[in-house]
């Protein structure tokens, strides 16, 4: 069933509507569990769109195995998704910096508060992001140190490659995931792929993982795969590589490949003068889990993140 979570009138004729598909198992008895799959907070991140489709398709095909409630929200920022706008159009505002929102506040905060209200009470939420247009990421879950203990068991079931446990930052307190974790809805943030593209392979991988988690929660009793064991990290083991010159970046490594300390990650080239501006090297032995996708760089642009350690 399609439900409207919140609706706000736009100036000329149209309404901004955030919608979800609710699927409920017919035989569910007793305490009914609910999982929410949300994506499209950042309008330029599309990887979650395919995951939503794929979940809906599989659930419809095997309705008999659904034992609880699955809520699928493909676009928390529908105007942004439709207009390739990362933030909320007209407000130039990052929607993931205004949660938990405010019923009486400006429109974006009102919308945020309705979203929180709608998800409240769920047993689990998965918030799917797709990096941005600049960086490519392997399928990973990001959780803060504070919530690591509670969330790690779920993350391990999600069939992703990597779990990044990062330090807390005050500014991240305004994210959807933090706000939901604070009101008792365990929420996992997935980052995968790259902005403005859909990587089918990642989408299927995550959909498989979501079924594993649903089985664990008792929402699904059909067949599932055996989830892959993710590599788990902490902040201290991640090496950052940033550009120090402006130009075009050409990578010399593949994404999610191992690398040695001092090995070349790529070059920054100057197309006007036909010269190499900078060579960029790996700060440690490890795996390149984030790699620059968009070629134009400024001084400071993130080029790669390397997870330190020995991987085979």
């Amino acid at each position: 069933m399609i439900k409207t979570v919140v609706s706000v009138g736009l100036p000329v004729d149209e309404k901004l509507r955030i919608r979800k598909q609710t699927m409920e198992g017919p035989e569910a008895k007793g305490e009914k569990k609910r999982i929410c799959i949300v994506t499209g907070t950042h309008g330029d991140e599309l990887e979650g769109q395919y995951v939503c489709y794929e979940l809906g398709r599989r659930l419809k095909e095997q309705k008999e195995h659904l034992k609880g409630i699955v809520d699928i929200y493909p676009a928390l920022n529908p105007l942004g998704v439709d207009s390739i706008t990362r933030g909320i159009p007209m407000f130039d505002l990052d929607m993931n910096r205004i949660f938990p929102g405010n019923e009486d506040g400006p429109v974006p905060e009102y919308v945020a508060s309705r979203i929180i209200e709608d998800i409240k009470g769920a047993d689990l939420c998965i918030d799917i992001h797709a990096s941005n247009i600049f960086l490519r990421e392997i399928p990973q879950v990001r959780i803060s140190e504070m919530t690591a203990k509670a969330l790690l068991p779920y993350a391990k079931k999600l069939n992703i490659d990597y779990v990044w446990i990062h330090g807390a930052a005050t500014v991240l307190e305004a994210t959807l995931a933090h706000s939901l974790n604070m009101i008792g809805v365990p929420t996992l943030v997935v980052e995968m792929g790259v902005g403005m593209r859909i990587t089918l392979e990642y989408g299927r991988q995550l959909a498989d993982g979501i079924f594993c988690l649903m089985k664990e929660l008792g929402i699904w009793d059909g067949d599932v795969i055996r989830p892959k064991k993710p590599i788990i990290s902490t902040d201290g083991q991640v090496g950052f590589v940033n550009a120090n010159h402006s130009g075009i970046f050409i990578p010399h490594v593949d994404h999610w490949e191992s690398i040695r300390k001092g090995e070349t990650i790529g070059e920054i080239l100057n197309p006007l003068e036909g010269k190499v501006e900078e060579n960029l090297y790996s700060p440690c032995d490890g795996m390149v889990f984030t790699l620059r996708e968009y070629p134009i760089v400024n001084s400071g642009s993130l080029i790669a993140r390397v997870l330190g350690g020995e991987f085979h």
Binding site: G9, P11, F91, R97, A174, G247, N298, G300
Partner: protein, 311 residues
């Protein structure tokens, strides 16, 4: 006056970004004034340019009290201004959400770090900035309640209002917040324009900064006494929302006194022209903020009203 490039960033396709600082006087780091940090903050840059002009004249006439140095940075993000963007042109990040910055980090973190390195350690910091909702304000000084704020100093600007508000998580990365955390008395000054020049409020802003600098003992300048400010808390402002969407017609101006039940604005059907809603004032008070766009969404905040204090 000494003009200096305080931060420079190389670029392959464009000229380098050069951020300038104008130093006046010699001595202790007394006051630092920062203008536009976003590409649409033209009024903020304009106010600083007028301030540089005024300080240049004062310096020539012995208007500086020996022992104090004042720095003015009229614009930080003219890279975005020159191409009609509000935020950093490449990745749409906001420099005023990157403080205290990180010199090994992303581009806008590096710019913020470069600027913060120069602007910190001044005893007073004044930033001309803008609000994320498009609209007009009564000129005022805004302070964040960090535990370090001093509203009595904000009074020295002689602007009619001082607004105090609680910082939210996103505010912890602004220049104002970081100034305060690192021991600078920080003030944000709002005039009633951003992407256009309003001469009257710009003049008022320049006068208020000169008044502040004089009252702090950094300048010798004869100023009008200005207003005795009313201190209001952001939470105490009454929000008025539009209950309909369509063409927006504002009927009152910032600073205007309104009665309870007075019609503040009308919303028109965008195709048929009929008035579909009249927005009434819920309180007797003074219009502090007024939305200024020809179209309006449902539920948009269109006014903030200071409730009448003395009945």
């Amino acid at each position: 006056m000494r003009k200096e490039v305080i931060y420079q960033l190389g670029n392959t396709y464009r000229d380098d970004l050069r951020i300038y600082g104008y130093h006046f006087g010699k001595g202790e780091k007394s006051a630092c004034i920062v203008g536009s940090m976003r590409g649409n903050e033209v009024q903020q840059m304009y106010v600083c340019s007028q301030l540089v002009k005024a300080l240049k004249e004062l310096e020539g006439h012995g208007g500086f009290v020996p022992g104090s140095e004042i720095l003015v940075i009229p614009s930080v993000n003219h890279f975005s201004m020159n191409i009609g963007k509000r935020f950093w042109a490449v990745d749409n990040t906001d420099i005023n959400r990157m403080f205290p910055g990180y010199d090994q980090g992303e581009t806008t973190q590096r710019i913020a770090a470069g600027v913060f390195d120069v602007v910190q350690h001044y005893s007073c910091g004044i930033q001309f900035t803008s609000f994320y909702m498009p609209g007009d304000f009564i000129p005022h000084v805004r302070m964040m309640e960090t535990g370090f704020q001093k509203p009595s100093l904000a009074n020295l600007f002689g602007l009619p209002y001082v607004v105090i508000r609680k910082p939210r998580p996103v505010d912890t990365t602004t220049l104002n917040y970081n100034w305060q955390i690192w021991d600078t008395n920080a003030f944000s000054v709002y005039t009633n324009a951003t992407d256009r020049i309003d001469q009257v409020s710009a003049g008022q802003a320049v006068a208020s900064v000169l008044r502040f600098l004089t009252r702090m003992g950094f300048l010798r300048y004869t100023s009008h006494s200005g207003y005795i400010a009313t201190v209001v808390r952001e939470d105490d402002l009454k929000n008025v929302k539009s209950d309909a969407a369509g063409i927006y017609r504002r009927l009152v101006e910032p600073g205007q006194e309104v009665k309870k039940g007075e019609v503040l604005a009308e919303v028109l059907d965008p195709h048929e022209g009929d008035v579909v809603s009249r927005i009434l004032s819920p309180e007797r008070g003074i219009i502090f903020f007024a939305y200024a766009q020809p179209l309006v969404m449902e539920r948009a905040i269109i006014f903030k009203i200071i409730k009448r204090l003395h009945q």
